[in-house]
């Protein structure tokens, strides 16, 4: 099945006063039409950077230094800014975390949605407004006529997130990137937002890339999952497989750290912290925290290899398990 969006060897660097931070290290994955792909990792793992890079929103001091992002057969990293603008918000759109700060405080929410219609579909002002109201109703906001005239600070966090989703889905994009859409929301509101995303995804046929640090969210709505650690992609699998049979030590640790109501297990936090990506060592960046680390892990990066249908992992220890000779 050809992918809707295909990321290959994407690398991003940030130039800071203290040196070069390698935020993403040759990340590769596919997003298939209509699926919900989760991108999971601790904070600092590069999840958000991946999202921004996909839409070419990385600005100095950040630079995309390698790789390709193929959408509809075209590498988005090579097209002109004008062509990119035609993609953003139209074919691919994004929902940001902390919804209230992601909305312009001095424009009414209705206006913020409406102008996207005016921009991407050359809708007239009254037409754009009408469609904005439709979108607000679609995302489940009651009394859209009144709400559209309000400002971000007058809406609750959950409602702001719905507005963001409305903005993102306004032009029926084929891919929606949601960066931590439920962080900071009440558990019950978060559940509603997730439900909304899944529902709208199914209805519009849009694929969703869901970025989160919360495995519970992933378990709830995602079809497939990629796991990131310190800018490197370490495992990719369909959601059931990932939870039932996690292969990478990091994924295993993540899964083990989820509290479970049906088992009496001691919670085990993952030792250490995400390593500094300032002049990082070669090799696997989980090496210092890994219980199964081998010498080769520190020397060279393991490649992402298939370990089953819909299951890929980058780990020398796993290779060893399976009998692949590890150099």
């Amino acid at each position: 099945m050809t992918a809707l969006l295909s990321v290959r060897d994407l690398s991003v660097q940030f130039v800071t006063d203290d040196g070069v931070v390698e935020a993403l290290d040759t990340v590769s994955f596919d997003v298939r039409a209509g699926e919900i792909l989760g991108v999971v990792g601790e904070s600092g793992s590069g999840k958000s950077v991946t999202a921004l890079a996909m839409l070419r929103l990385i600005r100095p001091p950040g630079h995309i230094v390698g790789g390709a992002v193929r959408f509809d057969g075209v590498d988005l990293l090579t097209v002109s800014e004008e062509q990119m603008r035609a993609v953003r918000g139209r074919s691919i759109s994004m929902v940001f975390q902390s919804p209230r700060t992601a909305l312009n405080p001095v424009l009414t929410v209705g206006r913020q949605i409406a102008r996207l219609f005016a921009l991407h579909q050359r809708a007239s002002a009254p037409e754009a407004w009408r469609r904005a109201l439709e979108m607000l109703a679609l995302v489940g906001i009651a009394d859209p006529e009144r709400r559209a005239r309000q400002y971000a600070h007058q809406l609750s966090g959950g409602m702001c997130q719905r507005v963001m989703i409305a903005m993102a889905l306004a032009t029926a994009p084929r891919l929606l990137i949601a960066d931590e859409p439920t962080t900071g929301l009440d558990v019950s509101i978060a559940a509603q937002v997730l439900e909304l995303l899944r529902d709208l995804g199914r209805r519009t046929g849009a694929a969703i890339v869901l970025i989160t640090h919360d495995l519970a969210v992933v378990a709830e709505v995602c079809d497939r999952v990629t796991v990131m650690h310190a800018g490197q992609l370490v495992e990719m699998a369909d959601v059931r497989t990932l939870f039932a049979r996690p292969l990478h030590p990091y994924t295993q640790a993540l899964v083990r750290s989820i509290p479970r109501i049906d088992q009496d297990v001691t919670l085990e936090p993952i030792p250490g912290t995400v390593p500094s990506m300032l002049a990082p060592p070669p090799g696997c960046r989980y090496a210092d925290r890994c219980p199964r680390v081998l010498d080769v892990c520190r020397r060279a990066r393991p490649a992402l290899l298939g370990a089953g249908p819909e299951h890929e992992v980058a780990c020398y220890a796993v290779e060893q398990d399976v009998g692949v000779t590890v150099r």
Binding site: R85, G89, S93, T101, V106, L116, H153
Partner: protein, 338 residues
């Protein structure tokens, strides 16, 4: 009710501030060395006459009563008399205000017209040559005394280049002044269609406005730049960009619109600097405004005008800050609708 409450609260704050201002002003007028009754009586007056005058001026009453007389006088427009012009100070003020107003407005135009774009461009093109130059000018400009700037400008543009007029007032000596409608020479000349007078007025306004405008520009530029930088990093700017809006529109539309709101608050502070600078610049260019009037009166041992000037400026400052706060409340929907 939220915004209404904000307005009411803000208005109420004005009253105690004004009272405080009049108390300080009263203290200053009563600190004047010498006995004002003596001054009024003249050197040949007998002690009885002086006492009589004292009584008529209320100088023998307790302080609170004198303060009350002072304030009621103020409310009736009694700002005392100027010994040098022989007229009520209020009248002198009325005659001189337009010149100061003209200079203040022109300087504000310069400061905002140059300062705001400079701050915006500095933020948008951070760490560029323009940014560095503007920051250097900002830091340097704050350290330059405005009278020095004015004199240097005079030297360069009048003496060396000959493009500026001599610092003798608002119009060239050989130009007929336009009929006085507003008192703002530029406006009056424009309204009356006197091309020659208009040009001359602008010509004479040029250097003073540049001097004063430059003197107050630095804090404005700095604040615009800082606010703009903060906003350019904000989530909603990123979100707007992610939604496909062209970068130029995001920066000069969304971002700028948000940035200009807090800048309103700086305008109040700028006004304070403007009034302070006004005095000095008027002296440098012999600009016949309020500051010039007050200072020259002092030099001729006429103390009334300067204290009235101080009070006047303070009251203006209070109301300008009030207007700025209310404007800010209107502009920011977070305050207007809560």
């Amino acid at each position: 009710m939220g915004f209404g409450g904000y307005v009411v609260r803000r208005l109420l704050l004005v009253v105690p501030t004004l009272i405080g201002v009049t108390i300080i002003s009263f203290a200053l007028t009563h600190l004047l060395p010498g006995n004002p009754a003596l001054v009024k009586a003249g050197p040949l007056a007998t002690p009885e006459v002086v006492q009589e005058i004292e009584r008529s001026m209320g100088l023998d009453r307790p302080l609170p009563v004198q303060y009350w007389r002072y304030v009621s006088g103020l409310l009736h427009g009694d700002l005392g008399e100027s010994a040098s012009t022989g007229r009520p100070v209020l009248e002198d003020f009325r005659q001189r205000i337009p010149a100061t107003l003209e200079l203040t407005l022109a300087s504000l135009l310069v400061a905002v017209g140059i300062g705001v774009p400079l701050g915006v461009l500095s933020a948008v093109h951070r760490d560029s040559v323009l940014d560095h130059v503007s920051r250097v000018l900002g830091v340097g400009g704050v350290a330059m005394p405005s009278f020095w700037t004015g004199l240097l400008l005079l030297y360069v543009f009048f003496y060396l280049l000959g493009v500026a007029p001599p610092p003798l007032g608002r119009l060239a000596a050989d130009v007929t002044p336009p009929p006085r409608l507003t008192g703002l020479t530029v406006l009056d000349a424009a309204l009356a269609g006197h091309g020659g007078a208009l040009l001359s007025a602008l010509h004479h306004l040029m250097l003073p406005a540049l001097t004063l405008g430059f003197a107050v520009m630095a804090p404005l530029t700095r604040m615009v730049r800082a606010t703009m930088l903060e906003i350019l990093e904000s989530d909603y700017v990123k979100a707007a960009w992610a939604a496909g809006l062209p970068r130029r529109r995001v920066v000069y539309g969304d971002a700028l619109r948000n940035a200009l709101i807090p800048v309103i608050t700086v305008l109040g502070v700028i006004f304070g600097f403007l009034m302070a600078g006004n005095v000095v610049v008027e002296m440098v260019y012999a600009w016949p405004g309020l500051g010039h009037y007050a200072v020259t009166a002092l030099v001729t041992k006429d103390p009334g005008p300067i204290q009235s000037f101080v009070l006047f400026v303070a009251v203006m400052y209070v109301f300008v800050n009030l207007a700025v706060d209310l404007l800010y409340g209107l502009a920011d929907p977070r305050i207007r609708l809560r």
